[in-house]
Symmetry: C2
Subunit: 203 residues, 2 copies
DNA sequence: TCAACTTGCTTAACAGCGTTAACGCCGGGA
DNA sequence: TCCCGGCGTTAACGCTGTTAAGCAAGTTGA
């Protein structure tokens, strides 16, 4: 077999593994994703997976990386919006859409701490997303759109990120607590967008 | 041994177990808390722990329950504040204090989903905390302190809770991501309080 | 053509986890 | 004295992620 064909075969089985992992991931949650379960699903032994991925963490990261296209595309599209304030609001809603559509992915990416030095080299999508958020609020500050006390782009970015993250994170973790009458996430998130924009914008 | 003395001894060893678990919990995080590590620390075998706790989940819940006194006391004290808006702000800051002082506890209570039907009987502290938040915003709504679009006490409670939760949750999980210049949690949280109060209050 | 090497995959195992069945010991009550 | 119940143990089960060693088939070089 030529080296090219071999590379293709490698990519094919890699995709096979990732697809099997994804099915377990989105259907039964991250707890159901075990190396043995993935292997069983594609008719290999668990050892085989290690021929294609360093470890489980790397596999899950690749899985999320592949599925973050949705978020990346939306962010890229929104990035062309001129007004930084409008752009910020749209970024927020796109972020919420991703969290609602891919709760398992969201949980893995934004709600579990990765073991320190992982993929420290290439920029991860969440890193890019934060940078985009940061640039957007920075532009808004430079344009004098926000109240004067919000002069720190990092703090403002972390405020907006945190506000939306809290809404979805709470619901992902506590959605089946019977003593909370949960409201629709999207509506609450929209209200949070309006609320926080009103809180930071110049009167 | 009298039954009374036996009960005391039971309580003593229970406390011993919880204390050992706590040390591991706060020093090395929840991942370091294994039944074997706890047992080793107090010179027993892991099996002994099961004579006093149903399972690991129950042990961790009891541990957190014992340490939530700090939060419960603060909430109780603040509960006496007359003005519901002022009370809401103070509740928020107390909540942040707890999250910053007990990050491991916070992570276990508010950032991991418990296995469904756990301690469904007696009211858990987080349940009480949510109820208190709910009552406070309800009073504020009744007093006409908030903008008319915030007429749903549950949604408003979830908004305020989510806003603060997002701030601390992000930092707990992503504090050692090198590509984020984190601002001080307490300051950011205070800014979030001001911001969201301004966003929801009547002009 | 045949040996040597590479590649893909498996079998078997290791170390650790939460948890439980079975048993030993020991003190108090009948 | 006998027995019984509670405390603690040993040993194990079944699960996890991960790895060392080996096997078989295909490619390559002499």
């Amino acid at each position: 077999m030529s080296t090219q064909k071999r590379a293709l075969a490698r990519d094919a089985i890699k995709a096979l593994i990732v697809d099997a992992a994804r099915e377990l991931f989105v259907r039964d949650g991250i707890e159901a994703v075990t190396m043995r379960a993935i292997a069983k699903r594609i008719g290999y032994t668990p050892t085989t997976i290690y021929l294609h991925f360093r470890d489980k963490q790397a596999l899950l990261e690749e899985l999320c990386l592949r599925d973050m296209g949705a978020l990346a595309n939306a962010f890229h599209r929104i990035g062309r919006i001129e007004d930084p304030v409008d752009r910020l609001r749209r970024l927020g809603m796109a972020y919420i859409d991703f969290a609602v559509d891919y709760p398992s992915h969201y949980r893995f990416i934004f709600m579990t701490q990765k073991p320190a030095i992982t993929s420290a080299l290439q920029a991860s999508p969440d890193q890019n997303a934060y940078l985009m958020l940061f640039e957007t609020v920075k532009e808004g500050i430079a344009a004098g759109q926000y109240r004067p006390e919000f002069d720190d782009a990092h703090q403002l970015a972390q405020l907006m990120w945190g506000a939306l993250h809290g809404i979805v994170a709470l619901q992902i973790v506590k959605s089946d607590e019977p003593w909370i009458e949960w409201r629709d996430v999207r509506e609450t998130a929209r209200a949070m967008c309006d609320l926080s924009m009103r809180g930071v914008l110049r009167a």
